[in-house]
Amino acid sequence: MTTTPARATKAHVATRINGEETEFLCEPQQSLLECLRDVVGLTGTKEGCNDGNCGACSVLLNGRLVNSCLVLGVEAAGKDVGTSAGVATPAGLHPLQQAFLEGAALQCGICTPGFILAAKALLDKEPNPTEERVRFWLSGNLCRCTGYDKIVRAVMTAAGMQRGAAGARPGGAAQASAEATR
C-alpha cells in the first residue's frame, strides 16, 4: 500500500493521572471515561450509563468529584485526574477499601470503584460526616446490589479509621481539616 495516511484527527492531551505525567491521543468527541478506559487502559473506572446518572465512572478532576462520562478527554489537559487505580498505595489499601472489604460493602463490585472515589472526595473534605451527609453525598452513585446499608456503614467506619490514624499524631490532620470545614 502506498496511499498516504489520512490527515491526523486526534488531539494530543498532556495530563497527570494518579500523580503520573501521562500523554494520550484522543478524538475530540471522546469522553474522559472513554479515554481512561480505551486509550490509557484504566478499566477500573466503570461505565454504567454514559449519561451522568450512575456515578460508576466517578473520578477526581483537580480534586473535584466528577462523572468522567460527562467530561471530554481534551478537558483533562493540564489537570490532575484521580481514578480508582490511584486510591491504594504501595503501603497498602486505603481505609475506605479496607472498610469496604471488612464490612462486605460490595456484592458484584461494578459500582465499588465509583463509590470509593466518591466517598474519598467526601472524607477528604469532611472527616466526620453524619449518616445523612454520607447518604446525601453518595446519592449520585447507584448500587443495585447492597441497598446501601453496608456501604454507608463502611464509609463511616473508614472515616473513624482515618480520624483514629490522624488523631494518633500530634496536631492530627483530621482535626485540622475538621476545623477548616466549620
Binding site: 478524538e27 471522546q30 478506559r37 480505551d38 487502559g41 478499566t43 477500573g44 473506572t45 466503570k46 461505565e47 454504567g48 450509563c49 449519561d51 446518572n53 450512575c54 481514578t83 480508582s84 487505580a85 486510591v87 491504594a88 489499601l93 477499601q97 469496604f100 472489604l101 471488612e102 464490612g103 462486605a104 460490595l106 456484592q107 458484584c108 463490585g109 461494578i110 459500582c111 465499588t112 470503584p113 470509593i116 453524619t130 449518616e131 445523612e132 454520607v134 447518604r135 446525601f136 453518595l138 446519592s139 449520585g140 452513585n141 447507584l142 448500587c143 443495585r144 446490589c145 447492597t146 441497598g147 446501601y148 446499608d149 453496608k150 456501604i151 454507608v152 456503614r153 463511616m156 473513624g160
Partner: protein
C-alpha cells in the same frame, strides 16, 4: 426529603435506628463451625475494591473491532427490507450482519439450559427476521475499527418498516381483535394445543380441594384486582460480549453472564453449531438478578467476528439495556381468599396474567406456584396466563413472578386479618405453611422455616416499637420462594504447601467464591483463605447451571463439599502409604490424620500435602452433583412509611427483613442479599416503571428517568437471619438470594394502606397514585 432517623450529631448510624437494648443485624443461629458462619474477607475482594477485576466491557484483544447494534425504533413493525451496503462502504466498517446471516432454525421447543424454549424465537430475539416486536429489538449489527465509526455506520443502514399497531399490556393484548404479534402462535389451554390464534400463549390451572364449596362456607371473603408495572432488573453493568471466531471454526466468547454454560448452549443453538465449537470465558459480572441469564450480544459478536476475521466486542448502552433486555413482566392479577370467623384460611383463588414480552415464557408459572404457598390453603384454584405483548422478551428477575403474586395475595391476607380483628402476624402464623402442608399447585412442603420467620418478626423490637405521627403507617408482609438445585461441578487441587485451589463454574455475582470456598474449607479443616477459588471457562470445568434460582451456595457449595470429601479420601490413602497401613484405618479429624495401626502418630493435612510428590503425584478431588434437596425460603418484612400529603411521596422510615437462611455460610453476604433484595423491592414498590407513549415506546430509558433507589431514598435495612437447617444440605443451606425481593412491595402497600385507610391497587405506588388515592388529583 423527609428524615426521621436524623442521627444525633456525629452518632454512628448503627445506633440511630435502635434502642439501647436492641442490636441490629441479628443472627439467630443454633449451630457453629470453624469456618462456616464466620465473616472472612472475600477472595475476590481486593480486585474489586481496587478496580482491577475484569468485567465484561474491560477486555481488549489484539486487532479487536467494536460492534454496535441497530434496533427497531418501532414497537411493532414488519421488516420489508434491510440494506447494509452503505454502512459496509463506510471506511473502517468491517462487517455487518442481519437475520439473513443466521440460517433459520426449525420452530421447535428444545432444552436451552435454563429450561426449554423455542429456538426460532430465541434466534428472532437476537436478530429480528420478519417483524420487529418491540422498540429496541435488534435488526442488524456492525463492527468497525472504533465504536464511533460503528455508530455512524448504523445510521447508514436502511430498513424499510411497515409500522403495525402495538399492544403494551395484558388487557390490551387479550382484547378481542387485538393486533397479533405472531402469525403462528396458538394458545395452549389446560395442556392442550388449540388452533386459536391469539396473543395468549398459554393458560394453565391448578386446583386443590373444592374451592367453590369452601368459599360458600367462608365467613369472610376478600377479593382484589391489582396491576403492576413492567420493571427492569437494573444491574449497573450493561451487557457486554466479545467473540473471536477462529479460522478453524472454534469460537471463544468473553462475556458477563450468570451462566457460561447457558451462553454456550444458547449461542450454539442460535448459530446452529455444536457446543464443542464454543468456549465461553465468563468475566466478572456487574449484577444480573436474572437478567444476565439470556443471551443477546454473544451470537452477534460471533457472527461479526466470523465475517471480519477479527475479534469483535459489543457493549450495550444504558438505553439498550432498558429497551433490549430484561424486563420483568407487568401483570394483572385477581386474588380472592376466604377465612372462617376464628381466623382459619379455607379457600384461595387467583387469576394471574403476565406479560411475557415479545415471545412466550413469562414467569407466570412460578407466580402461580408461590401465590398461596406461604399458607395452608386447603381449597384453591389458580389460573395462569402467559401473554405476549410488544415489549422486550421478559427475563427472570430475582424470585421471578413471586413478587407480583405476593403484592396481590399479601394485601388480601392483610385485609382479612383486619376484618377479623386479628394481629397481621398472628393471622399469618395461624395459617402458616409447615412441613407437610400441601400447596395448591400440588407439592408438599418439606421442612421449612415459615413459622420461625414469622415468630422472629413478631418478637422483633421494630414490631413492638411505637409508630407516632400523622400520615404514617406500618405494614408487614410474608413471602415464599422455592429456590432451585440443578447441576454443579467442582474440582479441588491440593498444593504442596497444604493449601488448595478450588475450581468452579458458577459466576460470582455477590460473594459466592467465598461461600463456596468456605464450605470446602470446613470439610478440609482449612482456613477460609487456604482455599483459593477460581471461576473458569466452559472448557475447564464440568457443566454448571446458571448462578440463579438462589442455587450457587447450595448446589455449588454441595459440589465443593463432595470434592473436598474426595480430597480427604485420597489424602487418607497417601497417609496410609506413608505409614504403610491400610487406607481404611486412617481417620481425618480436625486437621489431623491418625490411624489405630500407628497409635501415637499424627500427620497434618499440610504434612501429607508436602509428600504428594513421593506418594504417587498430585491429588485432585472432584464432584459433579445435581442435589435434589434444595429447601424453599421465607422472608417477612416490617416497614414503616410516612406519606407527604402534599406531594404524595412515600418515604420508608424504617425497614426490617427477617429471613430463613437455613445456615448462613457467610452472614455478611446473606445480610447483603436481604438488604439488596429489600432495596430493589422498595424501588419496585414506589418508583420504578416503564413509561410508554401512545405507540408503546419506552420513553424513560435512562437511569435519571427510570428511578432506582439512591442512598438518600433508603434507611438502614435491618436484618434478622433465622436458621432452620435444610435437611437437603450438609450444613443446612437454603438459597438466600431471591426471597428478600418477594415481600417488600406488599409490605409497603400494607403500610400505605394503614397510613391512608385505603389500599393501593397498582405498582408502583408513585406520588401520582397516592394523590389519586387521596382524591387530590383525578
Amino acid at each position: 426529603m423527609t428524615t426521621t432517623k436524623e442521627p444525633a450529631t456525629g452518632a454512628p448510624a448503627t445506633e440511630s435506628a435502635t434502642t439501647e437494648t436492641y442490636l441490629p443485624n441479628q443472627v439467630l443461629s443454633h449451630t457453629s463451625y470453624n469456618v462456616v458462619g464466620t465473616r472472612p474477607i472475600r477472595h475476590d475482594g481486593v480486585d474489586k475494591v481496587t478496580g482491577r477485576a475484569i468485567y465484561g466491557a474491560d477486555i481488549r484483544l489484539a486487532g479487536m473491532l467494536h460492534g454496535k447494534v441497530l434496533r427497531s425504533p418501532h414497537s411493532h413493525a414488519r421488516i420489508k427490507s434491510i440494506d447494509t451496503s452503505k454502512a459496509l462502504a463506510l471506511p473502517g466498517v468491517k462487517a455487518a450482519v442481519t437475520a439473513a446471516d443466521l440460517s433459520e432454525a426449525e420452530s421447535r421447543t428444545i432444552d436451552l439450559g435454563e429450561g426449554s424454549g423455542n429456538v426460532r424465537w430465541l434466534q428472532d430475539n437476537i436478530l429480528a427476521r420478519h417483524k420487529a416486536l418491540y422498540k429496541g429489538h435488534a435488526v442488524a449489527a456492525v463492527a468497525a475499527t472504533s465504536a464511533h465509526i460503528a455508530e455512524q455506520a448504523l445510521k447508514l443502514i436502511e430498513v424499510d418498516y411497515e409500522v403495525l399497531p402495538a399492544v403494551s399490556t395484558v388487557e390490551e393484548a387479550m382484547r378481542a381483535g387485538a393486533p397479533l404479534l405472531h402469525d403462528d402462535l396458538t394458545t395452549e389451554s389446560l395442556g392442550e394445543q388449540t388452533d386459536e390464534h391469539s396473543n395468549l400463549a398459554k393458560h394453565f390451572q391448578f386446583v386443590l380441594g373444592d374451592p367453590d364449596k369452601a368459599f360458600a362456607e367462608a365467613d369472610v371473603v376478600v377479593e382484589r384486582v391489582v396491576t403492576t408495572a413492567t420493571v427492569h432488573q437494573g444491574y449497573i453493568e450493561p451487557h457486554a460480549a466479545t467473540a473471536a471466531w477462529n479460522a478453524d471454526g472454534q469460537v471463544t466468547i468473553w462475556c458477563s453472564t450468570q451462566g457460561a454454560f447457558v451462553v454456550r448452549e444458547q449461542t450454539a443453538k442460535v448459530l446452529q453449531i455444536p457446543v464443542s465449537r464454543i468456549k465461553v470465558v465468563p468475566l466478572e459480572i456487574g449484577g444480573g438478578f436474572g437478567g444476565k441469564i439470556p443471551i443477546y450480544l454473544e451470537p452477534l459478536a460471533a457472527l461479526l467476528s466470523r465475517q471480519s476475521a477479527r475479534p469483535v466486542k459489543l457493549v450495550m448502552s444504558r438505553a439498550e439495556v432498558f429497551q433490549g433486555t430484561g424486563p420483568t413482566p407487568g401483570s394483572w392479577m385477581r386474588v380472592k381468599m376466604g377465612a372462617t370467623r376464628d381466623g382459619r384460611l379455607v379457600a384461595g383463588e387467583a387469576d394471574i396474567r403476565f406479560e411475557a414480552g415479545a415471545y412466550p415464557g413469562s414467569p407466570v408459572g412460578a407466580a402461580a406456584e408461590c401465590v398461596f404457598a406461604a399458607y395452608d390453603v386447603p381449597n384453591g384454584r389458580i389460573d395462569g396466563y402467559d401473554v405476549v405483548v410488544n415489549k422486550p422478551k421478559s427475563a427472570a428477575y430475582r424470585a421471578p413472578g413471586a413478587t407480583q403474586a405476593a403484592f396481590a395475595a399479601e394485601q388480601v391476607v392483610d385485609e382479612l386479618a383486619e376484618k377479623l380483628g386479628l394481629d397481621p402476624i398472628d393471622f399469618r402464623l395461624k395459617n402458616s405453611a409447615k412441613e407437610g402442608t400441601r400447596r395448591v399447585d400440588g407439592p408438599v412442603h418439606p421442612r421449612i422455616g415459615s413459622v420461625e420467620v414469622l415468630e422472629a418478626a413478631k418478637a422483633h423490637e421494630h414490631y413492638r416499637s411505637p409508630l407516632e405521627g400523622p400520615h404514617r403507617g406500618r405494614g408487614v408482609a410474608h413471602g415464599y420462594w422455592f429456590n432451585v438445585g440443578l447441576e454443579s461441578s467442582c474440582t479441588i487441587n491440593v498444593n504442596a504447601d497444604g493449601t488448595v485451589n478450588l475450581v468452579e463454574g458458577s459466576t460470582d455475582i455477590g460473594g459466592t467464591r467465598a461461600s463456596v470456598a468456605m464450605q470446602a474449607a470446613e470439610v478440609l479443616g482449612l482456613g477460609a483463605h487456604d482455599v483459593r477459588p477460581a471461576v473458569v471457562d466452559t472448557d475447564s470445568i464440568g457443566f454448571t447451571a446458571v448462578t440463579g434460582g438462589s442455587r450457587t451456595t447450595f448446589a455449588t457449595g454441595f459440589a465443593a463439599i463432595k470434592a473436598a470429601e474426595d480430597v480427604i479420601r485420597q489424602m487418607k490413602e497417601r497417609a496410609a502409604l506413608i505409614w504403610e497401613v491400610e487406607p481404611e484405618t486412617v481417620v481425618y479429624e480436625g486437621t489431623t490424620f491418625t490411624s489405630p495401626a500407628r497409635a501415637g502418630d499424627t500427620l497434618s493435612f499440610k504434612e501429607v500435602a508436602a509428600q504428594l510428590g513421593d506418594t504417587g503425584g498430585p491429588v485432585t478431588g472432584r464432584a459433579n452433583v445435581d442435589p435434589p434437596g434444595h429447601g424453599g425460603a421465607f422472608a417477612t418484612n416490617i416497614v414503616d412509611v410516612e406519606i407527604d400529603p402534599e406531594t404524595g411521596k412515600v418515604q420508608v422510615l424504617r425497614f426490617t427483613v427477617i429471613q430463613d437462611a437455613g445456615k448462613a455460610i457467610h452472614p455478611s453476604y446473606v445480610e447483603g442479599q436481604m438488604q439488596g433484595g429489600s432495596a430493589q423491592g422498595i424501588g419496585w414498590a414506589l418508583n420504578e416503571e416503564y413509561f410508554l407513549n401512545g405507540r408503546g415506546e419506552m420513553v424513560n430509558a435512562s437511569l435519571l428517568d427510570y428511578r432506582m433507589p439512591t442512598a438518600l431514598d433508603l434507611p438502614m435495612i435491618d436484618t434478622v437471619i433465622v436458621e432452620v437447617p435444610n435437611p437437603g444440605h450438609p450444613f443446612g443451606v437454603r438459597g438466600v438470594g431471591e426471597v428478600p425481593i418477594v415481600p417488600p412491595p406488599a409490605a409497603v402497600a400494607n403500610a400505605v394502606a394503614h397510613a391512608l385507610g385505603k389500599r393501593p391497587d397498582v405498582l408502583p405506588i408513585s406520588p401520582r397514585v397516592v394523590l389519586e388515592m387521596t382524591g387530590q388529583i383525578e
